[in-house]
Symmetry: D2
Subunit: 384 residues, 4 copies
């Protein structure tokens, strides 16, 4: 952190003082998620985009030459002429934080190497999500899982003092765990969650889905997606338990077994995942739809309380209109950093059903990583 007026005290940043200025890098900078990282970071109050990484064939080019820019806004002028580097740790040594928007086939080795070089990696890739020492953090839900990081560092050989990997969740998982966490906080543990998704094409990256596959069509399958939702939800909503010997582990919601069933579909929508959920609470009688609405609207995450600059004002927006949320109308609200819920009503099979809309390229991807990094700064996990 390179500011004479930095405001860090103790383990966090005190608001009201001047803003820290922290160098960050982006891996996979030319891809779909990378473009979103760059859009968001170009205006960030703390993070200064310092280094861009991409594949060897992009390295050495200016960003505007290397990228096939597909965002509705233009390339930020501060980034257009930046040089693109290969994704090697030595090029990112001045970055206190490295965001990874890499594809899964590249992310594993590269993120491993970056961590080994004692860099702090916040990854959107799936590769490390199931690692027992890597936290899978949805920013408004389980920031406490950051507590596993010292164990992650100590178990490496050689042990690390600074570097680590933090992942965020799959885009379709993120959308649902935020309201599910709100429900558990208000009404106690859930027992059953059944979710059917209608996911946007941008979730598959670029070029991703062929237009011939999705125009006038629904594809009722997204490879590996249902397993991700069913597994990640348990890791995120579960706690961290500690053995007698002090070893920490994610308990996968073990104290109150939770079963999740997902059916995933791709629909001809550009951005915004719509998900229909039915849930059953452990508590009998279950809360009423009106109680659920109120609890969702009132949900205030720790992240926000702590002052993450990228956290939305309303984490969950509850819609009263019978036909909302809709991706085209609601995905851009709060720059896509919140989650929309609507149609909260009784379910004749489980207890309550409702619809969730989340912006898969914002809170479902880059925005989550960024808020996670903000959180880590505020909690003093990132050395600054």
């Amino acid at each position: 952190m390179s500011t004479a007026t930095a405001a860090i005290e103790g383990d966090g940043i005190e608001s009201g003082r001047s803003q820290p200025q922290i160098n960050v890098g982006v891996l996979g900078a030319t891809g779909t998620v990378g473009q979103r990282f760059i859009t968001l970071l170009s205006n960030h109050p703390w993070f200064v985009l310092h280094r861009l990484g991409a594949s060897p064939r992009s390295a050495g080019k200016k960003y505007r030459e290397a990228v096939n820019w597909k965002q509705a806004n233009a390339i930020p002028s501060s980034v257009r002429e930046m040089m693109v580097y290969e994704c090697k740790p030595e090029h990112f040594s001045e970055c206190a934080i490295v965001f990874s928007g890499l594809d899964a086939d590249a992310a594993g080795d590269i993120e491993t190497a970056f961590r080994a070089a004692d860099l702090c990696v916040f990854s959107n890739a799936k590769n490390y999500r199931r690692d027992p020492n890597v936290p899978l953090i949805v920013p408004f839900v389980n920031p406490s899982h950051l507590s596993i990081i010292p164990q992650q560092q100590s178990l490496l050989s050689p042990p690390l003092s600074k570097g680590f990997i933090v992942t965020n969740a799959n885009c379709s998982t993120t959308g649902i765990v935020i309201p599910l966490a709100a429900l558990e906080r208000a009404f106690g543990p859930l027992e059953l969650v059944l979710v059917t998704t209608m996911q946007a094409i941008s979730g598959a990256g670029y070029p991703g889905i062929s237009s011939l596959d999705i125009l006038d069509n629904v594809v009722p399958h997204i490879s590996g997606e249902e397993e991700k939702i069913e597994w990640e939800t348990l890791k995120i909503l579960g706690g961290v338990s500690e053995s007698d010997t002090g070893v920490k582990s994610f308990d996968m919601h073990a104290r109150h077994p939770l079963r999740v069933s997902a059916s995933c579909n791709r629909v001809p929508v550009i951005d915004g995942h719509t998900e229909c959920l039915s849930v059953r609470f452990a508590r009998r009688p279950p809360p009423s739809p009106q109680q659920v609405r109120e609890a969702l609207a009132a949900f205030t995450p720790d992240a926000k309380a702590l002052g993450c600059p990228s956290a939305p004002r309303h984490t969950i927006t509850v819609h009263e209109e019978p036909d909302r949320p809709q991706p085209r109308l609601d995905r851009s609200y709060q720059d896509g950093a919140g989650v929309n819920v609507g149609r909260v009503r009784q379910c004749p099979v489980l207890d309550i059903k409702f619809v969730v809309l989340s912006n898969n390229v914002s809170i479902g991807a880059a925005t989550s990583s960024i808020i996670n990094a903000e959180l880590a700064v505020l909690k003093g996990v990132v050395p600054t």
Copy 2:
């Protein structure tokens, strides 16, 4: 029936003989469902399109002048020059069967008047579906419900000898009750059904959904649709019970209570409703996914056995590919008269989950009415 070589004997049509020729009419002939009726009936082996009914402002015009034809095939040449009449029973007195593709706001009064004039009405409208003496028939599922017709006739004042109303189900209900019926026949009663639909725009008629509401969008609400699925499924899958005094009534699946929960969405697909289902069987242990696949593929309805000419060769097509069925690729198979099922797998919350695709304008609407009428002819319910 105007053929010297008619082949009706006893209560049915004997196959192998010459085909009956039966005059039929279509109400709401210029609407979306009406256009589909006309397309299907113009090539029908038994039914002869004899009279077209539409609103007063269309009456007196030639069909090609009155209609805003929206089908991918041209107006059948035999129909182009036919005169359109007002929907009054006197114009349809020569029709042994009248198909109704009327909108709900017109259907009630007109269908009542047609029945009162002793005409046999097969309606796609919702108005009479909940009538306790009107059968709600999905052709491959519950043809036995036609047995309520004598009671329907006798309770009217004055009682009727020939006329009646038979309805078919809502398009999204039809798609799911066919595989559900197949499952109940093979494995005994279901206890729970949870369905999320992704419905085509053609289900809303023309002009129906504004393009501004559905392009790049999902609308997570279709007015009244969830209630229809939840209620109609019980009537269709249930039986007909008889009181001590001989009064028949639909039992709404009462012997084995069934709970159905539906979440309905509109997606940017032209034709074909995709529905994700999870079901729980009463029987423990439940059947395996493979057993379910085999039972669905083997399902042979009575209708087909009896020789309805519009019944498809395969009532349920079970797809093995992981990403099928899809509306654009599978909706036209067998002219849309069958139902497609895919992705049969275990559900972590209920027992089994799978995807259904049905063509909402074919088996979900006009084709169902036509097969119902064929069935009624074969069973001798329609006087010919």
Copy 3:
């Protein structure tokens, strides 16, 4: 104008001083164009949204209750609770400017009445565009046509001192006349213009185009649109001539006859009209593609020079990439207030061909009206 710190001197607003605060009203406030007016005006530095007008069935309701809001951003909080009034002049007497987003079938009588009540009307409707005393102004092109206003006022009975009607052009006309004006300014008169449009569905209002008509489709016809382009282009690009008796009239480009041919198509795009043009210049030899590119990029309208707050920084953005502009990627640039041109190249039939993209709901509609009003304020045409 209700500000003690108003900065109007002489016939304009002097920049650098405090901003004028001018009450404005919107007619047709609940419609598609009306919603866009409200979005733009809610943040306007000069104009204060003071009165909303809509149909009698909306009158008396709060705006949020009356409107079926279809914008991607939320209803501005300052407008949500505003009362909607009938479109009667007495309700708008405190408005120095009235914007009309009315449909053509209502606009004629209402705008006439508003003008008769001495109100200044800036209309997006087509009704008055062909009036020989009403200027048809595209803001970066022909602000000088405002000079017809005194004649418009004097010819009414009784003559008016303040009120008038100014119209803006059809959305597809606006997109092309801006680059055409730039070309005429740089290279002298055009002789031939051939344009084929691919127009967005939002151009038809709401509900507008049925989704069944446009999904997976092109409709090669928009009623009256080709005539509008062919006629309006002449009025806008033409001058104002004055007879010996001092009567002014629009000369329809008479000094250099110009022939325009338009072919209009509707395509499945939400916002943004794409138009392919070929043009022939009077001057021989014609300019090269590179000269055309430079002239377009350098075009600086009077409006901007005068300091209209809603004018974009770049009136015409010239794209070098071979596949731009594209509606989805370029329509939001500068909030849609500029025009995009790309693919400037030689035409084997005429001289030069190129592609224009303009945002039909911004510069093609509400934004044009607003800039026209800003211009009129700056020129002292609107009494403030």
Copy 4:
């Protein structure tokens, strides 16, 4: 030709007799055009699908395993289990005709090798279209260009006795040259043609266009397409001239110089290219719109006269409705083998303007190749 009842006499097939049975092969059988070839050939009265060729990684598999089938109808049952071979001439030695649906990057070498092996190749690829000895044939337009084949054969080293290559045109060229040929036949030579296309995504093959590039979008550029239209139109509409030494060459419409200008756009339509044309005739005064309509509707190609089984009954369907043709409603008429024209009207810049719709995967691709082959059989060009 393997039939005892073959009906070939002289240089053609005499209708009324039994049908010839001719073995054919398809190269690129798993691709988009290959799938269309297979669909059409599986029901062909003369051609028997005998051999399928694809890339080495498909070779050795059953067709159903090798293909990612994307057609709305199922894989023909006769083809599902056929073996796929590498595209080597030795595997196709029993095929009298070989259709090529290969991509341009593979087509050049493979087609050259097949011709060298004395096979008759009808190719949809672009590679040989500009060859001065290869006819570029649009079936209803210039079958006389087959007369170049002996020269093509004689100039090879060693000269061939049977083998040759015939190409068909680019999909967007085909759609327009058919009506243009009809106009030239009726009214004499054209001088100017200006065309703007709105092309379907299927024209780019599979996976082709990313959905992120085309949903809610228009891409105003298709690489190489404008050049193809501008050049191919001249070759097709031109004649074959012969030098004093007997050398034949395509005259590129030289006797009446024709200038063609094309602007090509990709739109979110699955199948069917819509093209807006303006034309100028040499003859003064030009024909009226009504004369043009009549000439187009009356156009009867030689191909049809000769009895090609795949030729449509109406080569050009002229629509009178103001908003037709439309891709979704008109592309399937006559199985896509004809061309639709509508909106014939005067052009203020050239003489006449109109809209053409052609099915790019049928008459624009596989159907053209097949009709070309039928023609060649009828003319005795293919040794049978």
